[in-house]
């Protein structure tokens, strides 16, 4: 037990823990208090719509972590994470559908869309979703299982780089088409919606929304710590090595297949978790979650914040989606220009994302300071480290 505690404590330096603690306090205690305990007219009042919105962003943050784990650290750009996210969402959505009971439009025990399609009984793959724990475990296991099988075949034949990205995009496209069909059994075009309650709590209640927000926030923190643990471990170092020089990893006697497969499956599982938390907060899940564009957008969250940093991924997810919320309301025509411009700008000018700016500035300052002090002195190890930090800030070739 003490060993585990020590391990967790070692994830961060004390300063990092303090920052994380303050953020948690502000987000998970302060914000709900500002929402619930303040007069609605006050400037510091957090409006009710902001709670599920931020809860949504937390879910996106979990997705960004998953994306960073597989792309930022392992060098595999997935364009299929939207599928894993949506599968988690569908698993939760199926449970919520079963929870409607006979309160649907048709007053039937079956979900409305099945009545509409004139189905007489529940399809076999809907069995068990009455139980929350079954649905919750499916939300994690189904994406993970799909990722494992798909990844096994892809990594085994050493599909990598853009080939892998393209194949995952095709997977996304096929999955979307599949879920668009009415006969597939997940509500077709309209998806699953009109949810009423979860574990007996009405989804319309503000308190339920706050609770979901808190759970999402806690899940984000836990997911962050888990990812931090993975990338800090020996396993994580192998993942980074695979990203930088897969052939050398192989020649050193490692089999990249299992490492990649692990990171890939964990990543999919996190996406499933995020999807399952997302659906009760937005109240709908439909095949448009599987659009290829959604999956690519997930990559830009990570790129904006900074790849291979975890913190940057979450930051990017919140910033990009915040901008999206503002733009799609204020200037809907302009949003695609902004998003498209972001893709181009970040890849061309900010290869390490927003966090890269600070890092580069810091490295430059250190370098300048060293140079002032070290005039005439021979090269020191610190100086070469600072130099390499600068060169690392330049785009690296894949």
């Amino acid at each position: 037990m003490r060993g585990i505690l020590h391990g967790v404590a070692a994830l961060h330096r004390p300063r990092g823990w303090i920052v994380l603690g303050v953020l948690c306090l502000a987000g998970l205690v302060g914000l709900p208090l500002l929402n619930g305990m303040t007069p609605p007219a006050a400037w510091y009042h957090v409006p009710a719509f902001a709670v599920p919105l931020l809860g949504k962003f937390f879910c996106y943050g979990i997705v960004a972590l998953a994306m960073d784990l597989i792309w930022g650290y392992t060098g595999i750009l997935s364009l299929g994470h939207g599928v894993f996210f949506a599968l988690g969402g569908y698993a939760m959505g199926m449970h919520l559908m079963r929870n409607i009971g006979k309160e649907g439009v048709y007053r039937s025990d079956l979900p409305d869309f099945m009545v509409f399609l004139d189905w007489k009984e529940l399809p076999w793959f809907w069995y068990g979703f009455d139980s929350f724990w079954f649905a919750a475990s499916m939300a994690l296991l189904v994406p993970a299982a799909l990722a494992y099988v798909f990844g096994y075949f892809a990594f085994r034949s050493r599909i990598r780089g853009v080939y892998f990205s393209i194949i995952t995009q095709a997977l996304t496209f096929a999955a979307m088409l599949l879920f668009f069909r009415n006969n597939t059994g997940f509500g077709g075009n309209n998806g699953l919606t009109d949810f009423k309650r979860l574990l007996g709590y009405s989804l319309q209640e503000p308190s339920t929304k706050v609770a979901l927000y808190l759970i999402s926030g806690a899940a984000l923190v836990l997911a962050y710590l888990a990812c931090r643990a993975i990338v800090g471990s020996k396993l994580g170092r192998v993942l980074t090595a695979i990203r930088d020089a897969e052939s050398r990893v192989m020649f050193s006697g490692y089999n990249p297949l299992h490492y990649k497969l692990f990171a890939w499956t964990v990543s999919a599982l996190l996406c499933g978790l995020a999807g399952a938390l997302y659906v009760p907060q937005v109240g709908i899940v439909n095949p448009s979650e599987m659009q290829t564009s959604n999956s690519i957008e997930m990559a830009i969250w990570v790129a904006v914040g900074g790849r291979g940093t975890l913190v940057g991924a979450v930051l990017g997810a919140v910033l990009v989606n915040g901008a999206k919320s503002v733009f799609t309301v204020q200037w809907p025509q302009a949003w695609l220009f902004v998003l498209g411009g972001l893709f181009v700008f970040v890849t061309l000018f900010l290869p390490k994302g927003l966090l890269g700016i600070g890092e580069r500035l810091g490295a430059l300052r250190k370098l300048a300071a060293r140079r002032m002090r070290a005039q005439g002195r021979p090269q020191t190890p610190e100086r070469s480290a600072a130099l390499s930090a600068v060169s690392a800030a330049k785009p690296h070739h894949e």
Binding site: L77, F153, S157, L178, F337, V344, T347, E398
Partner: protein, 547 residues
């Protein structure tokens, strides 16, 4: 059995002879019979009127048709001397169909002939049988069409007479079908049997319903058709027709697959070449298709307003225009963005995705978010009837041909020109090519422009198949990438094989599953395929090392 062409020729010759003989025979009869019949049209006695109509209907005289039609339309007038006139629309001119003279109607002692429901009922078949032997082909065709839809048993003799004279194959076919439909209900066993055989040999799918009726059972379990032999013949005829339909579908799917493959090929060629050359993935390539299609749309509108006479040729103008537009966009893209991302495939994927979003939104703002319609020119609409039941649309045939031409051009360009040589050199080893004086940046630019231009041509092709919308490219980009994955990078043969294979397979899978399951099966097949050949169908041989 004579060869088919010879049989047709013989049938035509004999039909012509019959027509001539009939004309020769009817000429002397015309004067006497027709004259008294025309006179009887003015009679008040319904019986005489009816027999006159009958006589005219069976006369086969070309002049009788306008008379009876005018009678039906109530523009016929009779004079007491036995002459008849057709009034013009304004009622001021009177036309004599026998002498072919037009005279002023005023002052003529004209009377409208007697009309009753009984007369009207008699007029319709008389007009039909006259139309069947009319010298005007389109009149015969529409009359035959009318008959095949609702022929009554009394029409059988008339159809047989018409068949004996008819030489145009299409009309013969319609008549035969009408006759067969009648004969299927004939009380004579031999006639029914012959009709079944006729349907089996000639008839189209519509007649299957009539065969099906022969094998049906009544409510009490007894067969509609009492004769077991006939039922068996009907069943086997239906089987044969199904077989033929399958065969027809086989061919139709082949063409549909080839045309889909051609569009994919036009898209994938540029992708494969530029990926091999520069190591960048262009997600905005699908948008080149879209831009090409919108160029076709703009050209169509331009021709419609500026050159309506030459409207049919707007497609020919759209092809170079689309090439130019997309090549220009390609140059901008390459110079502005992609040249900074060489060898960084994943980054180039994201950056070009951003570009594609910007292009889509731009087009949405310029042309509107709704789909626009691009009209096929006359020479691309319709289709070629290869054999009964199989119509191959001209647009699809043209797209396959276009694909062939473009592939030939591209391979000529790559194999026979200086630029092609340089492209191949840079693809193999960029540093070495640069060292011996190839201006790699320029090669990149031209190649990228060329690849984008080809996709633009593909867009024009696509505009002829369906509606054009801002998201047009998105639906093709995934498939085009699959072609690149299948075919390997930088190999034209690979792209051709991959595109055609994918296109044809997709179209052949569709009937068995639906389109969606077909796509999923294809994806699974591709993933399995890559297990065996990770480098694609046509992997570069030798010491090609990954980057």
């Amino acid at each position: 059995m004579l060869p088919r062409s010879l049989r047709i020729a013989l049938a035509r010759a004999s039909a012509c002879a019959a027509l001539l003989a009939a004309l020769a025979w009817s000429l002397p009869a015309q004067s006497a019979g027709l004259k008294s019949a025309l006179k009887d049209l003015g009679s008040d006695d319904t019986d005489r009127l009816m027999s006159a109509i009958d006589l005219l209907g069976n006369s086969g005289d070309p002049a009788a048709l306008p008379i009876l039609q005018a009678y039906r339309d109530e523009t016929l007038r009779t004079a007491r001397d036995g002459r008849v006139f057709v009034l013009s629309k304004d009622g001021k001119q009177a036309f004599d169909p026998v002498s072919r003279e037009t005279v002023p109607a005023e002052g003529l002692p004209l009377a409208a002939p007697f009309v009753s429901n009984r007369v009207r009922r008699a007029l319709a078949p008389a007009i039909a049988s006259l139309a069947l032997v009319s010298p005007d082909v389109s009149a015969r065709a529409s009359a035959a069409e009318e008959l095949s839809k609702r022929a009554s048993p009394e029409d059988a003799a008339r159809i047989r007479t018409a068949l004996a004279r008819e030489a145009v194959p299409d009309i013969r076919k319609t008549l035969l079908a009408a006759l067969a439909r009648l004969d299927l209900n004939s009380p004579e066993r031999a006639v029914r049997l012959a009709a079944i055989q006729l349907v089996e040999a000639e008839g189209d799918v519509q007649l299957k319903v009539d065969l099906l009726r022969l094998t049906a059972t009544r409510e009490d379990g007894s067969f509609v058709e009492p004769d077991a032999g006939i039922r068996a013949a009907a069943v086997s005829a239906m089987k044969a027709m199904d077989q033929r339909q399958k065969f027809v579908n086989l061919f139709a799917n082949l063409l549909y697959g080839l045309s889909l493959g051609s569009v994919l090929l036009l898209t994938a060629l540029g992708l494969a070449i530029t990926f091999g050359l520069m190591g960048v993935i262009n997600m905005a390539h699908g948008e080149m298709l879209m831009l090409g299609a919108y160029t076709a749309y703009a050209m169509q509108n331009l021709f419609r307003s500026a050159l309506p006479g030459a409207f049919d040729y707007y497609v020919l103008a759209a092809l170079p225009a689309a090439f130019a537009v997309c090549a220009a966009v390609g140059v901008l893209l390459e110079r502005g963005v992609l040249r900074f991302l060489y060898g960084r495939a994943l980054e180039s994927l994201l950056a070009t995705w951003g570009i594609s979003l910007i292009l889509i939104q731009t087009v949405r703002l310029v042309f509107g978010a709704q789909n626009v319609t691009v009209t096929n020119p006359a020479w691309l609409s319709g289709g070629y009837t290869a054999f009964p039941g199989l119509v191959l649309p001209w647009s699809r045939i043209a797209i396959v041909l276009l694909g062939l031409v473009v592939v030939a051009l591209v391979s000529l360009l790559l194999q026979r020109t200086a630029l092609g040589l340089q492209v191949r050199a840079v693809t193999q080893n960029r540093t070495m090519a640069a060292a011996i004086g190839v201006r790699t940046a320029r090669v990149d630019m031209w190649t990228f422009a060329f690849g984008s231009g080809i996709a633009g041509i593909g867009g024009v092709a696509l505009s002829q198949l369906g509606n054009v919308g801002p998201e047009l490219g998105q639906s093709y980009i995934v498939d085009s990438f699959m072609v690149v994955v299948l075919g390997g990078v930088g190999k034209i043969a690979g792209s051709v094989a991959g595109a055609m294979g994918l296109g044809i397979l997709a179209k052949y899978l569709e009937p068995f599953t639906d389109a969606v399951l077909g796509k999923i099966i294809l994806l699974a097949l591709i993933v399995l395929f890559i297990q065996k050949r990770p480098q694609g169908l046509f992997a570069p041989k030798g010491r090609a090392v990954e980057g």
